[in-house]
Amino acid sequence: MTLLITVFAALAATAIWYCSEPARRLRIGFLSLMFWGASLMWLVDAVFEYAELHEKFFTPAAPDMLNDAYLGVSVVALGLVIWLVTVLVKDPNGVVKAALFGKKANL
């Protein structure tokens, strides 16, 4: 479930990166690569788990699935927070500088 949620987050971030120039300026590519990196790593985890559990891997218990979904959503939230902090620190449009020093942003 965590893998699935992260893959969907990676797909959404990549689609936005492809379609939107303003989003590319806001480093959405970084967010997309972060989610793809985590997805690939969880894919390896899933393969190792499948090798151990075989068909039981596809029929997890409901509480485990709920916990994994909760983890997946938390991971996406953490990824978004990391991305937002990076955007605010790098400030590609000069919005933070404009707000702090009263200058005009490059929007």
């Binding site: 970084f30 690569l33 972060m34 990196g37 690939l40 790593m41 985890d45 190792f48 990824g79 990391i82």
Partner: protein, 136 residues
């Protein structure tokens, strides 16, 4: 248990390599030679930028996986940080085994995917260069 440490170590090594290559590329751009002048340099994606994709994949993935380990209580915010170390030699042996199998596979898979990205971007670069040459 601690499989994210292997890609995180690779990420640290690649970040250092990227910084070194960035410095070399900055020097190379300052003195353009007539044969590989400014026009070609603009069309070619710097290798340090391509390494940046790998560092983003590795650091991002490791950070999110580290969070998962905290979630499952395998990593704690106090010394020695890994609960396997507190549990004894057998747990440490399991942890090292997982790092050697799952951790190394993660690092290799991410690197292979990145290599695929580099190959695809090189194909695009060649196409752009051929199109520019044909237009001349």
């Amino acid at each position: 248990m601690a499989c994210f440490i292997v890609p995180a170590l690779e990420a640290a090594a690649v970040t250092v390599l990227k910084k070194i290559i960035e410095k070399k590329e900055a020097k190379a751009v300052q003195v353009p030679t007539p044969s590989n002048g400014a026009e070609l340099a603009v069309e070619k994606i710097p290798f340090s930028r391509k390494l940046g994709w790998l560092t983003n994949l590795l650091w991002g993935g490791s950070a999110l996986l580290a969070f998962e380990h905290v979630w499952h209580g395998e990593v704690v915010p106090w010394f020695p940080f890994l609960t396997a170390v507190q549990e004894g030699p057998e747990a440490v042996s399991d942890m090292l085994g997982e790092m050697a199998t799952a951790g190394v596979t993660m690092a290799v898979l991410v690197t292979v995917v990145w290599f695929g990205l580099v190959v695809v971007s090189s194909v695009f670069e060649k196409r752009v260069r051929h199109a520019a040459e044909a237009a001349k």
